[in-house]
Symmetry: C2
Subunit: 325 residues, 2 copies
């Protein structure tokens, strides 16, 4: 800035002002400064700016997995909204383990973000302490609780699963199985579904859990396992993701089974593909765009110091009925 100033014939401070609040600089010097910036190829140092102003214009976003479309699509709207306000997103994967998450949180906080987005509501005690100590807005998404660290935007996983169980029973399905990923939220959905379905029908639910990342292959394997070990004819399979459900459709087709007549399927997430499958997939829709947007607005409200945002926002969900169940 000093070098730019020398060329423009002003001091370093005036250059700073020209960049941060042009209205405070006369049009003439502003022009000279911009010319000088042009010839020098000057790029401001946001690190120094953040140190001096105590505002980094950086927002940390921590998600379990970048490759999972449900998180990345939520981040899309979250990022877009915040970027329009001049914030940049520092994005990291945490995996599904709170201990790993804690490490990531620590390195992120050392960059002095202006706010943090976390996925889920279960974090290590030390992580909570660090977050509280940072004294910045913290928004937990993709789940809901009355006692968030700071803010919370999401929905009840148990409620979605119970609704699916009730939907299944209403449609007359008296047998059911689950194919579920190993992460805590998927497990919570499975358990809620199983409890509610057994409560309503009295028949026990066959379960297949895979530890690793969800995939078409796991969905196929899951259905194969269930069909080979249980009688699920005319029953329904509840999957912890659309991807697994898609695998189920493929395996069913490969076995000559008709969906939904021989076996019905319900997914979770209602991804873009759900409507395009044959048969189209019944799924639980969570509006990820709204989720990301609402989280961004909550953070912004706190950052800009406007009206206090609600501590907890339930964005709800919806079962989208299609052909598979």
């Amino acid at each position: 800035m000093a070098a730019v100033g020398r060329i423009a014939g002003v001091s370093q401070v005036t250059v700073s002002r020209a960049l941060s609040d042009p209205s405070k600089v006369s049009p003439d010097t502003l022009r000279r400064i911009h010319d000088a910036i042009e010839v020098t190829g000057f790029v401001p140092n946001a690190l120094a700016g953040a140190l001096a102003s105590r505002k980094s214009k950086l927002i940390s976003a921590l998600v379990p997995a970048l490759t999972n479309i449900v998180y990345s699509s939520m981040l899309k709207s979250f990022s877009a909204r915040l970027r329009s306000e001049g914030y940049e997103i520092l994005l990291s994967e945490t995996g599904f383990d709170p201990a790993d998450e804690e490490r990531v949180i620590a390195t992120h906080l050392s960059r002095r973000p202006d706010a943090v987005l976390l996925t889920g509501i279960h974090h290590s005690a030390h992580a909570r302490k660090m977050l509280l100590g940072a004294e910045i807005p913290v928004v937990e998404v993709w789940d809901i609780t009355d006692t968030p660290i700071d803010l919370c935007v999401g929905f009840s996983h148990a409620a979605t699963a119970r609704a699916v169980a009730e939907y299944a029973v209403e449609r007359g399905y008296m047998k059911a199985g689950t194919i579920s990923a190993g992460d805590e939220r998927a497990h919570r959905r499975k358990t809620a579904f199983v409890d509610r379905f057994e409560e309503l029908t009295g028949s026990s639910v066959a379960q297949y859990d895979h530890g690793s990342l969800a995939s078409l292959g796991q969905g196929r394997k899951g259905l194969a396992h269930l069909l080979d070990n249980y009688d699920l004819r005319n029953g329904l399979i509840f999957c912890s993701s659309d991807l697994l459900a898609q695998g189920v459709l493929i395996e069913a087709h490969a076995r000559g089974l008709t969906v939904p007549d021989d076996i019905a399927v319900i997914g979770f997430g209602d991804q873009e593909a759900a409507a395009e499958l044959e048969p189209s997939l019944t799924s639980v829709r969570v509006d990820r765009t709204t989720l990301g947007l609402t989280a961004a607005e909550a953070v912004l409200a706190r950052l800009e110091g406007k009206d206090a945002p609600p501590r907890s926002t339930d964005i709800g969900f919806e079962i989208i009925t299609r052909d598979s169940a």
Copy 2:
């Protein structure tokens, strides 16, 4: 650090040393410092550290779209390798427009990253100038050129497409169509395929281009359009992504066509799902994990100042033969 030092009975500098190079501090004071950090909940300020040391330990990664698995899976190995060396990744979407990319590059450079990863080899003149001026390692991935800004790790899109055309002709397909996304690299693949196929067979290739993001729906629409307007019986469809190819499989099935007998399909990307589809999908494999890893190693070599990495690395590709073609 000064506060921590006061509690531990040492100066600020000693605290700094305890954190950056513990071996330079006596075991006894090290313990006292860690105790003091514990009680104060101290989190170092990486901003100040970066400003003082002129090393941010931050690496910018710019990809067209986060939701596209081909980019995010490449980033996974890139990030993992660099994180193991203490670097953090500042990730942003650029879209497919060089003008948008330029803006993102500017804001990223203001954070003073230690290196930059870019997707593709086409960037605005001003972007190149800024990058060069930053005097940091720059690695361009997912394409190949002899004249990268600095480093380059990727493969030839034209070569993959020509190989697919030759593969098709070898298998006796004499008619072909393409379904392609609108981005520049997809377009380049399509053109190379069309040229080579027409050169080999003399028969012209039917083309369907969709502007927006690839999806199952676009794949279905694409096949529908091609079948309704051209005679492609016993021909082959080359799609610019596996996702489109998956849509083609679904549409073919919905129309009672058998793949590959009535119509053959080749995808691009060889995603996890390709092997699990019915029929399984023939596709062009690009080893995204290797790509990300190689890019990371190239950056590290330059950063750690070891042996100079090759300016340009071609990681090649492979056509994975499965049932769909």
